[in-house]
Symmetry: C2
Subunit: 690 residues, 2 copies
Amino acid sequence: MLDGLFRPRAVAVIGASANPYSIGHIVVRNLVDYGFKGPIFPINPKGGHIRSIKAYRSISEVPDEVDLVNISIKADYIPAVMEECGKKGVKFAIVHSAGFKEVGEEGLAREKKMVEIAHHYGMRVYGPNCQGIQNSDPEISVYANFTFVPMKPGSISIIAQGGGMGELLKLHLHKVGLGHRLYCSYGNECDLTMPEILEYYGQDEGTRVIMMQTESFKDPRAFLEVAAGITPHKPILAIKAGRTREGSIAVSSHTGSLVDQAALAEAMYRKAGVVQFTDSDEMIKAAIAMSTQDLPAGRRIGLITNTGGPGIQAVDEAVSRGLTLATWSEAGRQRLEESLYAEASCGNPVDVVATAGPDHYFAAVDTLLKEKDTDMVMVFFVTAPFVDLDGIATRIREAAGASDKPVVVVVETTDKWAGLIDKLRDSGLPVYEFPEDGVRALADMARCRDLRQRPREEPPALEVRREEVEKILAAGAGGYLPQDKAYAVLEAYGIPTPPLAVLDSADDVDAAVTKVGLPCVLKVDAADVVHKSDEGGVALGLDSAQAVREALATMQDRFDGRDARFILQQQAPAGRELIVGAVEAPGLGSLVMFGLGGIFVEVLRDVAFTVAPLSRPEAGEVLRSIRGLPLLEGVRGEAGVDLAAVEDLLLRFSRLVADFPSIVEMDLNPVFAYPPGRPPLAVDVRLKVR
Amino acid sequence: MLDGLFRPRAVAVIGASANPYSIGHIVVRNLVDYGFKGPIFPINPKGGHIRSIKAYRSISEVPDEVDLVNISIKADYIPAVMEECGKKGVKFAIVHSAGFKEVGEEGLAREKKMVEIAHHYGMRVYGPNCQGIQNSDPEISVYANFTFVPMKPGSISIIAQGGGMGELLKLHLHKVGLGHRLYCSYGNECDLTMPEILEYYGQDEGTRVIMMQTESFKDPRAFLEVAAGITPHKPILAIKAGRTREGSIAVSSHTGSLVDQAALAEAMYRKAGVVQFTDSDEMIKAAIAMSTQDLPAGRRIGLITNTGGPGIQAVDEAVSRGLTLATWSEAGRQRLEESLYAEASCGNPVDVVATAGPDHYFAAVDTLLKEKDTDMVMVFFVTAPFVDLDGIATRIREAAGASDKPVVVVVETTDKWAGLIDKLRDSGLPVYEFPEDGVRALADMARCRDLRQRPREEPPALEVRREEVEKILAAGAGGYLPQDKAYAVLEAYGIPTPPLAVLDSADDVDAAVTKVGLPCVLKVDAADVVHKSDEGGVALGLDSAQAVREALATMQDRFDGRDARFILQQQAPAGRELIVGAVEAPGLGSLVMFGLGGIFVEVLRDVAFTVAPLSRPEAGEVLRSIRGLPLLEGVRGEAGVDLAAVEDLLLRFSRLVADFPSIVEMDLNPVFAYPPGRPPLAVDVRLKVR
């Protein structure tokens, strides 16, 4: 439990000085200004007082128990101070000071030493090189942080690795008159980890929504487990910094070249049901909606406006975000027609027209919220100077308050009528400036709901021959498996492949042809040949033993001296090309990649990542998350592929890489998928063992 | 010239009443409150005075000349009033009143009558059913509009079809403390048209950027010509409302099903060099940047920050918007290292660190702006409480002011330091809240610059046999051309097609095979067969006369009684599938569509639209605007296609549909494109003649 950190009974500030620009001073000031409910003990070797509060020369002189210390003294002095804190029985130390891991070896050693001392006394270290924490709960009101955004109670909690981003998220809430609940920016994460804090946020009753920004995951597995435990009851919204950075895992195959930190984040967010964002403004606006509104039951939006253009903008945004326009029942339409002006339009959007008053707005909002085929409502409202604006706000509130469906409001007005916005916000309605903002917030809520609604299942039990694979991998440790061994691994896990034979010399051809059947394909098998086709290592459409012999001779020449073997495979009939890959993600297990093969992966990067092993619903979801899905489902009369069979292949593949952490990297590229009834075939495989 | 409208010497307000909620009253109030520089004449049958200004009983009683009248009386009374205005010599009438075209036939008749009267007296009508106009030029300061957003001088002008959207655009400028120049929301466009107003904006010296919102184009050709004349010297930023609406042109072919109002707008914007937006907030923020900053010379961005996270957000956004991170010269890097704190990082982003002061910021901004490989700079600045903030703002201004390169600033702060933002804005620097906003504004400026830099050429002269096509089209008027005729049209315009023969009966097979060569393909030719393959109307890979005979017999059976003919074509070798189409765009000419064929058009809608005829640079641009471009350029060792030859095909195709407006719709689907040296082949064609 992190109560000692987020709900401390007393705080000491080590490094508190009279210099108003010093971190210690600012922390004391923030604690005082925001009304911390416990005693504050400034610590300064010179004693005296800081902002009228008596300062002690050392923590050991403090007469009371202290749960939390904020430390902002030079890194060199910290070990000694840490000893004192430990002896004093302090529970948590926030170390603002820099000069640790981030400055190299020496700093890292200092960091380790510090943690060692702390642990000796059962104390936990937060940071170092960090901002600190805040908890706006009126019972505590702790601003143990040196930044400047004002604090007031709210229900959105923020956990940011980067202080600048954490501050930015908090700042926008402040700018629109909202507060936040818990806040932390955790810096070097030397001891207390992000997942531990996240777990605490998950348990905090005052936190309704969590926003997070992460630069790198120190312990991906712990994050995944904690996040997955929170998302069923509390939305987590996340930005991964560095989504476009070149991946740090440089491996030579397709999968490898696509798996990077961004893929890791995507995979974990998907698995854990975290709603991912790329735009910070959009994330904040979604959090605002989720902090007061229930998630919608579906994707059907009802729009209300009093002027045409912004309604059209809303429609455009809604459709392009995957929402659908709700339609009204006959009774609903009739009520609209009876309640609104004759010149109003009663389709979707409902245009109540600029002269509409409170009762018109009420009728529109209330009608739409009662329509069973409407899942969410956005109300646009330009403050025409000739109507009862205050009454409109009151009646929108009234209608929205009577429903569990989410409602967002977009108000087009100047400061002159800012009171209206306050009034709507005070009643818990999210208010935005642009119609696109309102629609996006609702669309993001629908995304969140989709993630939450997924069936939660365990990965299924599969019939596989595990021992067989264990032996093959053990024998092949330290490199790429020979093709025949790699295919044997697939077969042992029930992943269909074409019949295969190894050709060590021309003498093997006849027997091999008999074994695999015609037509067949000859392939080179060498660890240093990654793209076989590009190097002339694939001969397709061989329809006789003689053709095989000729192709073999050519290829033997071509790869002379390159430690190459050759395999013969039955040529699989052309199918829809898929790519299925896996790459080791240190600290997590294996990431599984799925996509359409060929040009789709090469040009459009239309791939999805997830974490092995997969449950059946997860396999279905990753399959359906690619843009090229219509190609798998079948377009314009063309048959689609056997999706259930592809799902099964994904399950088996993900099970395989999860069962064997020694698989560093593995690609099925391509897999040919066929129409229903015919299982897909993995026609090429690369498998690298540690 | 529209000076009488936007720079009136005197304004009369017909329908001015004492009721403060009436449009007439509000217009008078706005004219007075914003200090209109000429006399205001309220007109009210009862006389009296409105807001202390003497009201006349009719316009004819007004003692002075009147350039502009605002009319908000009932539609029924307008004709009589229009007569009076005409006799009085009024130049422009803004008709706010509704009850015209938008209410149906009767209203349309009233509208026509009104315009007739006006024209009789040489008067122009603006509206009806509209807001009005504004001009913030201090010499005029006319707010002849009944809305509520305060007016102050600025250099961004707004032209919106929808009043709600116009107001929304103006409102955000107001909220961030900026003004606007000209404003109009033009309603029914019964007489004075949007292109006329746009042209006036183009000539207005005080207008530096134009923002527009359009719902439908009454005269696309005029818009295109006017816009193309403005964009070389003044940016036009545009939102087309209804971009996701199902197209209004319902035609059966591929092209038709993709061409809609959104495509029309895209084509015209591309042709005219208008920068298109889908998000209103983004458009406004881009306009703000363009209103004070010069366009960048390229896409290389330099980033400066004093905290890490927002810098990473900026990098992510920049890369995903097609900007590249600038790199510094050795001298530049050295200057940064010497000028900044030791813990600063001197890569891109430059992190000056939170303790950086005025001189550090100056050095960073000045260094980057002087780097020859940096085209634009974004400065992020969180107001750390321990530095000289005012000094930082001053020095950023100083460095930015000395360069022609665009600079945008993102300030993370609270109201407490709002003065800093004002200070930066007053010096002409665009200031935003989120790093993504700043980057997007710069990326949009780069888009604008790319459009402006395009070589402007006339469509080239091509050797074509125009008379031949004229005859074929005349003979085929009123429906789809038979295949052989359609191919003949292509050949006459130099678009390569495979050899072809018509098969009227089995007797023709031998001669036909001799003519076209083997292997060949048999196709049905019938007006009611749109997707030939789907209906079994294509037999591929026929490698003997006998095979052709058999296929013909099967097909004759299949299409028995459907008025079908059959053609035999040499089977073109498989190439990269393209689709080239055209559809008539009433009032404009022909839209040309280009895209990758097959799944790309079906699933990904990866197509681009433009207006025929094309110049050579335009053909190159449309070719390069599709997402699948790498497939044409060649990926991973695969040869690309002959882009110059495809460009030539596009030029010829666009010339053809431009030369013959009777071509209602035309598709080449697919065109096979081949590696360099081999011209593309149009292997299927549909051509519908009016």
